[in-house]
Symmetry: D2
Subunit: 473 residues, 4 copies
């Protein structure tokens, strides 16, 4: 009941090479800005050119780090990570970055994404006699890098030649930080420059604003960026594939102040809302968002439809997750513990309720009841993306296909299920036009067309789950 009906992103990645900055503190603030990409665990590894220092912990960035532990993270280069919060097996063992000693000095890796061929890669390692300590892809990646021959760039290329799936990597060696983006460009990665000197990489440019860096450019699919004492260098690590940037980064995952492809995410979301208003207009007195993620889309819908935007639902500002089960009486009250309505803004009005997406469809019903109880005359639901019908294997934790409401119900059935007066989703064409693109995005969760040649078989997925089970993950 407390979980949002949202998809879940897996991680945030950051890297920095900046001899004249306090690298650990800079990384801390950057991770603070990337907190929305993962609240389960966080970690920072720094290096002073010889020795690596690490601190990791479960919880929010602000909970895990303090002046004292940051002070031990000496050095002029570093990488950091925020990890997404699952309900179940939060284990420190799975916190990143991973770090290893190698013949060539310390090696640390952090990862955003999901390798679809990780069962094969695990097997390769196990067959080489490399035991594994977790069920994470990141451990697989660091051992593949440690065990490959050649310099670090060569090793990264060897890894990219083998790996299939979504991966944005931050890699730290003794004297450089590397950023890697998979050949499909499924997850974002961007390069920035610090005012005085030094370079940074991050999953999202919003981290740059926070630490005073300027965006240099996005790392393109298949590229490797290396930042070190000589500045930065970008090389092609693997041939780019048909670009398949995750559409949901635009729709929901990224912070609205991040820029992708030169477009501010907040603007993209407004445009999705405007397009939705064009496709699915309705006579109404107020446009209301499902806060906070649906707000930009709702503002766009209001702009285009000329129906006034207002707030209709209040969401608690204090997220601290609770696992207290509501009583039976409270259960009837439903979603109210998370959202409260603003009756005077709704009373007697026809309302357009704009949401960025619907996954399971389990919170929309109670929300609509709230609005009606607060006096709304009609509630027209508008969803700023197409129906989600297929599971993601590329680093997004979402319901299994069974749970996806649009996989099993028609539009009319969904409308009836949630109790809306009308319901419309944005079309795929409309979404793409709002993105000002005709291609370059992974829309697999809407279309079932995955970007990989390898068929993702159930057997392989089961093998991966078996590993996870062994570790109690």
């Amino acid at each position: 009941m407390y979980a949002d009906d949202k998809l879940r992103e897996e991680c945030g990645v950051f890297g920095i090479y900046a001899p004249n900055h306090q690298v650990a503190t800079m990384t801390f603030f950057a991770l603070y800005a990337l907190q929305h990409r993962g609240q389960e665990a966080t970690g920072i590894v720094t290096c002073d050119g010889r020795i690596a220092h690490v601190h990791k912990g479960m919880g929010l960035v602000s909970q895990v780090f303090n002046e004292e532990n940051l002070s031990h993270l000496r050095g002029h280069l570093g990488i950091g990570h925020t990890r997404y919060s699952t309900t179940g097996s939060a284990k420190l063992r799975n916190a990143q970055p991973y770090i290893l000693e190698t013949l060539n000095g310390p090696l640390a890796v952090c990862h955003n994404g999901n390798l679809i061929n990780s069962p094969q890669l695990r097997r390769e390692l196990l067959e080489r006699g490399v035991g594994l300590q977790s069920s994470t892809d990141s451990e697989v990646i660091i051992h593949l890098l440690a065990g490959a021959g050649g310099d670090w760039l060569t090793r990264i290329r060897i890894f990219m030649a083998k790996a299939e799936g979504a991966y944005t990597l931050g890699i730290l060696t003794r004297d450089a930080v590397y950023g890697v983006r998979d050949p499909w460009g499924l997850r974002p990665l961007v390069l920035g420059k610090l005012p005085d000197d030094g370079y940074v990489i991050a999953s999202e440019s919003c981290a740059f604003s926070t630490i005073g860096a300027e965006t240099v450019r996005e790392i393109q699919p298949g590229e490797i960026v290396r930042i070190d004492a000589d500045g930065y260098e970008i090389v092609q690590g693997a041939p780019p594939q048909n670009k398949a940037f995750c559409t949901f980064e635009q729709i929901y995952f990224a912070r609205p102040d991040t820029v992708f492809n030169g477009q501010l995410v907040h603007q993209v979301r407004q445009e999705l809302g405007r397009q939705l208003a064009r496709e699915a207009p309705v006579a109404a007195e107020a446009v209301v968002a499902v806060p906070d993620s649906g707000t930009p889309h709702a503002i766009g819908y209001a702009q285009e439809s000329d129906i006034p935007y207002t707030e209709g639902l209040i969401k608690s500002r204090y997220i601290g997750r609770t696992f207290i089960q509501p009583t039976d009486q409270l259960r009837k009250v439903g979603v109210a513990m998370k959202f409260n309505p603003l009756p005077e803004n709704l009373k007697g009005k026809r309302i357009v309720l704009v949401d960025d997406s619907i996954v399971r469809g389990n919170t929309s019903g109670p929300l609509l009841q709230l609005l009606r109880k607060a006096g709304a005359a009609e509630v027209h639901v508008r969803v700023a993306c197409p129906p989600i019908k297929f599971p993601c294997f590329m680093g997004v934790d979402m319901a299994s296909q069974d749970e996806l409401i649009a996989a099993h119900k028609s539009l009319e059935e969904i409308r009836a299920h949630i109790g809306a007066d009308s319901l419309a989703y944005l079309s795929i064409q409309g979404m793409m036009s709002a993105l000002a693109a005709t291609s370059g995005y992974c829309n697999a969760c809407f279309t079932g067309e995955y970007p990989f040649m390898t068929p993702i078989t159930t057997i392989e997925l089961q093998e991966k789950e078996k590993f996870a089970e062994m570790w109690g993950d």
Copy 2:
């Protein structure tokens, strides 16, 4: 740098008598909804008619309570409290409710407000030989109640006859819960009814929506409400004084979904924004709020001015307070760690930036720089309340008068200080008309006219501070 430039409310109060409900769980969810009134500490006391049970802790409601400790809080009546988070001396000793054994069974008290004559009341207790263990008013109140003669109603009346200042109390005895509102009505208190049976009291009605209760009515100045096995009874505890409800509850403190005097706070804030638009119009292309608290005012300004509302600043959703000091380089970046701008929404535009209030004026300057750096052509600041020039002694922790920017600078000086193209505050008359009132509010922080006859002398305040120092508070 991380603190908002906001006033700080001191507490949230809740009480419940409900034999057929899980009282502790209900209180938990109500406190969760009152979290915005205090994040330092929280506590619940319940009673089963014979024995009282208590659990208190430092931190958020969701951090302090869990299924296990709630299960020990047995009984059919209870009170709970959220305490405001100061930066310094967070001590468990100061967490509320306080609880005492008396000849008439357990007594528990929680408090929102500030007694201006607490030095005299402390002295009265000390002279009676009652030692005190903290510097809080709440401990004074509970000992005054414990030491007075007569039944509980009589004791509360004796207390009210002596006390001067702001106090909303939740009181638990063996068989009843009492709510008390001071004769000036400085802090809010409202009575609600549960669907099946039982009654509740809360600082704000937003707690009722969360637990499925309906508002019965607001408790009026000087009234005592008693809820017990026979339902509720409201009596006059002390003659009401000229009503002096804190205007800032309407402007900033309360949750937007709370109702005061039959008005939804969100609507009141929109009306403040609309009035501001009438008083201080300006030619612009976008109305932008200082989120989240300025959003309703900005929406109102946009409605009245017909300038489109949009989001121009993003605030981190993950509050976890951090005490990490920014580096010197980061210090230059200023407020950016908390707010990031949305350049595409601002670029080349004349912006109206609506804030609910300005206290010290120390965050507005950096914010404006952010907006300009993001491309805003002009920034016109509009503040939805009058200039704050006088300190509060009634339970709001705000800067000393020295720090209040409007106490020392003219409008033009403030404008120059924050770097705005223009600056306007709402007038007192305009504010009152937006509140649809001509009296009944305490506007002391704007006018310096305090609601009490007793002059508040520096000497008494120093005495209070001396006590606090003794306890290291």
Copy 3:
């Protein structure tokens, strides 16, 4: 199974006035030496002549204090406390010293003992309207002192005139530390002098060796010692009663390096063993102790009997209490988890097993089985005190009378129960002669003759328990 079959002392008390020492650190080390008198909780209060500072916590002295929290305990006078560890309700609320603000500055109190008329004293406070927050005697004492008139010495005398029972107090005011011993002298208290300057008081002189102090003299029954800027002063606070020093301090509670009445406790215990050897000789090849507390008695027995002393049982040096329940298979193994036998020292020998005392008799049986399994030919149990038949109401937590094995079984029955070849207790006369005394001791647990005129009725005890229940204690 893990609990020793021992009586339990309630507390250790310490006080210091020493302008040229680091008072908090000295108190820390003194409490470290008094750790055996209580492992549940500990606390220190210091005062700099104006403001008091306090730190308390659950656990061992070494766990609760660190350099950081000691550094906040500024001042030149202080008191400290170690509290005995019950299995159940370990609550920080009950940790001592208690501290209050009074008209005459801070007041702090810590206590070793038990007031038998505390129900009446509680009632007196409650009738005066002083609410109470715990079920401890110490809170009653501090409120009685705070509420009495006159200077501190007068107030302490007023308290002593009212109080009945065992109490050794450490009291801190703004400018002096007081030590108080009840008129029966039930619990010990001793005055010491620091090498450079300053005086200290402690429950046992072993604390003095640890901090380099020399014993001045023991505080006598009914005396008050005041230590302040002028040195020390001893006055009679209440007429001394028939001295009734707890015999068990000599037998078991005190550390062997403590001196009572000019006698080293270790010597007294050896003498108890020697007397036991005279009273109950037996032909045997080895004298073995139940370690560690029975060792001095066993050494004495060996000296007198000329039977060689050796170790026959090893006790884990690592006490960390465990609450893990043994498995059924382990349950059969019984006491072995705490003691392991030394077979080669026992094999084929007739063993005298010397214990300082037997309370419930539940560990002796398994211990004897261990010894026999390890090869002992005969086991003759010798107990260095008389049979314990009556409960203690003066600050010792022991089994209820039902559980005292000697209250219900004859000597022969006990022998059979524990499976000894022979069993002998020390006689009361023998014990007194070993103590070199004919009177001056409370032997109530052996004789049932309590030192108080007031009959201790069940009703009053029940009242006290009722209070405890209210607090969940």
Copy 4:
């Protein structure tokens, strides 16, 4: 000042295969009995034949485990470990057992000892591209086992063929537990049988008494024991070398109730004391031990010399380590914080003070001062082993050679340094005769004759330290 002047053992190892027992609880109690072999960290891995379960933590066994986490450690086989407490880098990362996933299922390893060729073995792994995450030998061992070919027995043999140094291993695979003892037999390992069924291995037989197991036999140098569904099997894993069992296991490390080579350790220690009495008699009135470790030796000395044994020093029963620095005044008091003298047992007497060993010689001086201040007429120090002159590279953490007092001072110089009236060490011949042996022991710390052919060069040791530094260990 708080550290004992003792050598430090590195670890305790335990393993169990017992389908009808609660394996985790049994392991818990066994580790509780092996606590003296390591107090820094502890861990348990169990396996249910398919999946492995692990829990590790910093601190004592009783602190790390509770009913809840033990309940997750399902399965019928398991291994456990206690790790020695260094002052500095206590890191959870270094806690054992280590666990890896391999193609052949889970693999877990725990280790007691020290590989002298671990730099070479580390390099072998790194050259194979296996990155390492710690500076521990145990991680090296588990990766060597994981990466070798063949069945587990084969892999263990491959490892034994490569490894040089001290190693007692506990190894868990999917369906068996292995115990391994290095070919020199430097560290102990013993096999036991549970009453109902199942087998156990442990570093010391004292763990067996605690869980009701009987010793089957000691594992001999170079042997591997495998325990599984078919019972146990012992095979030779590597040719035994000249046996070199660490003499200090007999003198100090092991619990007195452990049996080595059929001899109870307590008896051996008594015999060491008796031999010492024969070699270095002295006229005296009392024999006193440095408690607790010197007690058996002192009892033996007393038996042989016919001088009465008594206690002369009391050691705090409550070990909780403290890092509080004593004040300057306290510093003068010296060792008194740990030991207090018993003056009446010492006054006017000539004392033989028996210690099991002297390492740095830094605590003996203060101890002797204590005894003299308490009235001892003469103090004759007798040390129950020969002078320690050479460092250990086989798993004992002792001072560097610089710090070993006997490496630099003559007997007379040491006597003068510690202020004894006379001083004698046991001779090597005397020690061996007390051990009833002419060979089979490593006496390298006395003689400098190390059991390995490989010269232990400073360069290799430095390389090892470099690794440790990289990990901040």
